[in-house]
């Protein structure tokens, strides 16, 4: 073990039924450094963190800590005792206890508490870390950032050598992030090794010293921050070598024809309460466009704002030139907009209801409370779309939750196609479904567009977007940062626009 390292993980293996989540991953954390752990969804970041914190037990591999032989971590308590502390994205403290209580809860050695002593010690730590709160304050009265810092203070006081910050900045504003970064730098100066997991590229380049990139459960590499420009980082995360990639020309262009001048939907300065910067947007008749960007860049939040799924707090929208008002999903539906949500389980299916009820739901709601479809009508719709989209189900009466992911997705697609929308938004329609269905959905999107439907298509896979979209809106850190069309639609351009910053050099 290198003498500068506080933590070394070697050849870590972890499998779950059906998936190999980690395949021989190495990870080294040096004393007094901030080390970014990067990767797209499913790359294995959280699995690696959970192995390190004892939530999961590794199948194979070795973990070494400074000053000790190989260690075995079987539970979060083990990890804590060894000086590995984690601060999660969501606050895992108790909001109704005081700051001091939160810092010392579960750490007493006996059954008695010396309150005065505890408060004094807590105040001292808070002061030394420059955290703007007092030991006696109730935690819920502090801002999220301060709560986050208290969680860190708790970790620091437990004499941690390794501090893991799992997306701590997702719910913080710019000023709060700055405060958090200051705290991180202070800790770094004290020799703590910090593992920083985040989706925000700007933040990585602001505070981190080194980067480890994972992809599909494998280690891609470990880099000094100076050696890895943003574009390279993005290409490593996505697994596309910049130069090898010949431009995949989309078949999409042939469909974006002449009557494409009519703006079916237009938004100006649209803003929702989901924390995205106001953005302008339009889509033409028969056009397929898409939002691209890394996970968490605000792609979904944009389309949710268009559909009224999040609370719209600013901006104006118009349909074919006429101003309209969309404050909730039903308004959007009445204006011919349909939205297939990103999270199929949470926002899409109504699990216990039958395939039939799931398919007719949106059209039924549009038709009205007092006008239910007869059983025959409902069956006709369901059978038509089960056949059209090739949904594999025992019958239309089967509860949708017992179908496979791909078939559930087709049902949700059927639900919206049934409403005959003018503008269809598909947010990650192909995530977690088999390859055959993916291709089906892509083909369907192009076919619908050629028939005059406007479609916004979002996917984490750039290939897919290049194949279907004729215009891409690029997002970074919750802002629209660019628009690509025509010849600009290449992997290289997308990546450099996503990366932003130094890419133009």
């Amino acid at each position: 073990m290198d003498k500068n390292s506080v933590l070394e993980m070697r050849d870590i293996q972890k499998s779950f039924p059906g998936v190999r989540a980690l395949m021989g991953v190495d990870f080294t954390l040096k004393e007094g450094e901030i080390h970014a752990l990067m990767g797209e969804n499913g790359a294995g970041k959280s699995t690696l963190i959970k192995v390190l914190t004892g939530v999961y037990t590794k199948d194979d591999g070795h973990i070494f800590l400074k000053g000790s032989e190989e260690v075995n971590i079987h539970s979060p308590q083990d990890a804590q005792r060894l000086g590995i502390s984690t601060v999660y994205q969501e606050i895992t403290l108790c909001p109704n206890l005081s700051v001091a209580e939160n810092m010392y809860i579960g750490r007493g050695d006996g059954s008695t508490v010396n309150w005065k002593d505890m408060n004094q010690k807590a105040d001292k730590i808070l002061q030394s870390l420059d955290i703007p709160t007092t030991a006696a304050a109730q935690l819920s009265s502090c801002s999220i950032a301060v709560q986050q810092m208290v969680a860190i203070a708790r970790a620091v006081d437990m004499e941690c050598k390794v501090l893991i910050l799992d997306e701590p900045t997702s719910s913080l504003d710019d000023q709060e992030v700055a405060k958090l970064f200051k705290l991180m730098r202070d800790l770094k100066a004290k020799g703590v090794g910090i593992i920083f997991v985040t989706h925000f590229l700007d933040q990585v380049y602001e505070v981190c010293d080194r980067i480890t990139v994972l992809r599909d459960g494998r280690l891609v590499g470990e880099y000094e921050i100076a050696d890895l420009p943003r574009v390279k980082l993005v290409s490593k995360m996505l697994g596309k070598e910049m130069d090898d990639l010949s431009d995949i020309k989309g078949e999409a262009k042939e469909y974006s024809k002449d009557d494409a001048s009519e703006k079916v939907f237009e938004a100006k300065g649209l803003q929702s309460n989901a924390g995205i910067s106001p953005f302008d947007f339009y889509i033409n008749k028969g056009e397929v466009n898409g939002f691209t960007g890394l996970l968490g860049s605000g792609r979904s939040e944009c389309v949710r704002a268009i559909f009224g799924a999040d609370k719209v707090i600013g901006g104006s929208v118009s349909k074919s030139g006429k101003p309209i008002n969309i404050s909730k999903p039903i308004d959007a539906m009445k204006n011919g907009i349909a939205y297939l949500p990103e999270d199929r389980k949470l926002d899409g299916i109504v699990g216990d209801l039958s395939v039939r009820d799931n398919i007719i739901l949106a059209l039924q709601v549009l038709k009205g409370f007092f006008k239910p479809f007869t059983k025959a009508e409902a069956n006709k719709f369901a059978d038509e779309y089960i056949k059209l989209l090739g949904i594999k189900t025992a019958s239309a009466d089967t509860p949708i939750k017992s179908l496979s992911g791909g078939n559930q997705q087709k049902c949700i697609l059927a639900r919206w196609l049934l409403t005959k929308p003018e503008y269809l938004i598909l947010d990650e329609p192909t995530r977690g479904i088999d390859v055959g269905t993916k291709v089906d959905i892509q083909k369907l999107v192009l076919k619908l567009a050629s028939e005059g439907m406007s479609i916004t298509f979002i996917s984490s896979e750039t290939d897919e977007m290049l194949r279907t979209c004729s215009r891409l809106i690029v997002m970074r850190d919750r802002k629209v940062v660019g628009e690509l069309k025509g010849d600009e639609l290449t992997q290289n351009m997308i990546m450099s626009t996503i990366a932003g910053g130094e890419s133009k050099e």
């Binding site: 559909f307 799924a309 909730k328 999903p329 039903i330 539906m333 939205y339 949500p341 949470l346 926002d347 899409g348 299916i349 109504v350 699990g351 216990d352 209801l353 009820d357 739901l361 949106a362 039924q364 709601v365 549009l366 009205g368 409370f369 007092f370 239910p372 639900r415």
Partner: protein, 358 residues
């Protein structure tokens, strides 16, 4: 084997099996339980009498409440425990309108229908109060309705200045019809009221989307919203409809005795109504429901109560016996037990197959 599984997994299986069990028990203990006589009642009319008639009669309020409770359970994933107390309010309102300030009126101060309609409005307002707490303030239904559960009977007493108004036959003979008999008809009126309520409910479920919307909201609120539904409004509506059911049950309750006892009227009926929903095989966590099963569940509970009374179980001891039923039901419907039984069945099938092969 498969047909057996089909039968046992049907939602109507539990209430029907419980009913069958009760019938068999009574047949063995005393077949006289099922005898129905035509007797002359105190008003001089010939009416049917017998335990079965009692069950149908006394089960009416419960069946009507079960309708509303099923909707509330489906949409909100929780239960309203204030129905008994709101029945007291509804009953009190009816008496207040009919009697005015005179607790022993010579003549009614308003037509019965007016009194009933006012009571409906009041009960629906209280339903809306509960519903608003649940839908907009996102308070657990049981906690939200605990407020009315606690305060309801005091409000009921306050409406009549803590007096106990009595509607004497001299003031109105008709008033007693709703909880008793209409001259010339030998079947108790509450039975008809319950049947009318059930028919109306079935028609509403057939000719509106009430069923689809409440179930959808109960199963997945997020998706429902993204499909254009307004989950808050639908939850509120379920509570308001329960309020209407409560008003009808309140009319029957006060009509039965032509007066009111604020602390006793419809006492503990909320627990029976919730039990009816559970006995009907509906998940108390909301979502899919079967209305007929809930209504059947209500009558099964009344069957049990009447059976226990027949065997001279005192009113005080009654809840203990019902508790046994509840424990059995809850344990049987727990996923852990269902999985275990399913495994047991598979194991038995496997060993039987083995035995057949060797």
């Amino acid at each position: 084997m498969n047909t057996l599984k089909k039968i046992t997994s049907n939602q109507m299986f539990i209430p029907l099996a419980a009913l069958l069990l009760l019938i068999i028990f009574n047949l063995i203990m005393d077949p006289g339980f099922f005898k129905i006589n035509l007797v002359q009642n105190s008003a001089g009319n010939y009416v049917f009498s017998g335990y079965l008639i009692t069950i149908l009669d006394m089960g009416s309020e419960l069946a009507i409440l079960a309708i509303g409770m099923t909707l509330v359970t489906a949409a909100s994933g929780g239960q309203d425990i204030s129905v008994g107390a709101v029945i007291a309010i509804g009953g009190s309102v009816i008496l207040r309108v009919l009697c005015g300030t005179d607790p022993r009126p010579e003549v009614l101060k308003a037509p019965i229908i007016v009194a009933f309609l006012i009571s409906c409005v009041v009960c629906m307002i209280f339903g809306a109060f509960n519903g608003a707490l649940v839908a907009f303030f996102r308070i657990q239904p049981m906690v939200a309705t605990l407020i009315m559960y606690t305060a309801g009977r005091s409000i009921a007493a306050w409406i009549n200045n803590n007096t106990l108004p009595v509607i004497s036959p001299a003031a109105s003979e008709t008033f007693a019809y709703f909880g008793g008999f209409i001259p010339g008809i030998p079947i108790p009126t509450p039975v008809f009221i319950a049947i009318i309520c059930v028919i109306i409910t079935m028609l509403i479920l057939k000719f509106t989307n009430l069923g689809l919307y409440t179930q959808s909201v109960g199963i997945n609120e997020n998706s429902s919203r993204l499909n254009g539904l307004n989950p808050e409004f639908i939850k509120l509506m379920a509570f308001v409809l329960l309020g209407l059911c409560v008003a009808v049950a309140g009319l029957i309750k006060v009509s039965r005795i032509s007066t009111i006892n604020y602390s006793v009227i419809a006492k503990d009926i909320e627990m029976d109504a919730i039990l009816a929903v559970a006995l009907g095989g509906n998940a108390l966590s909301g979502g899919k429901f079967n209305m007929i099963a809930s209504i059947l569940g209500a009558y099964v509970i009344q069957f049990l109560t009447t059976t226990l009374y027949k065997f001279k179980v005192s009113a005080d001891a009654l809840p203990a016996y019902k508790a046994v039923v509840v424990i059995f039901l809850v344990v049987m419907s727990a996923p852990i037990v269902r999985d275990y039984l399913e495994q047991l069945r598979k194991k038995m099938a496997a060993s039987r197959k083995e035995a057949a092969e060797s």
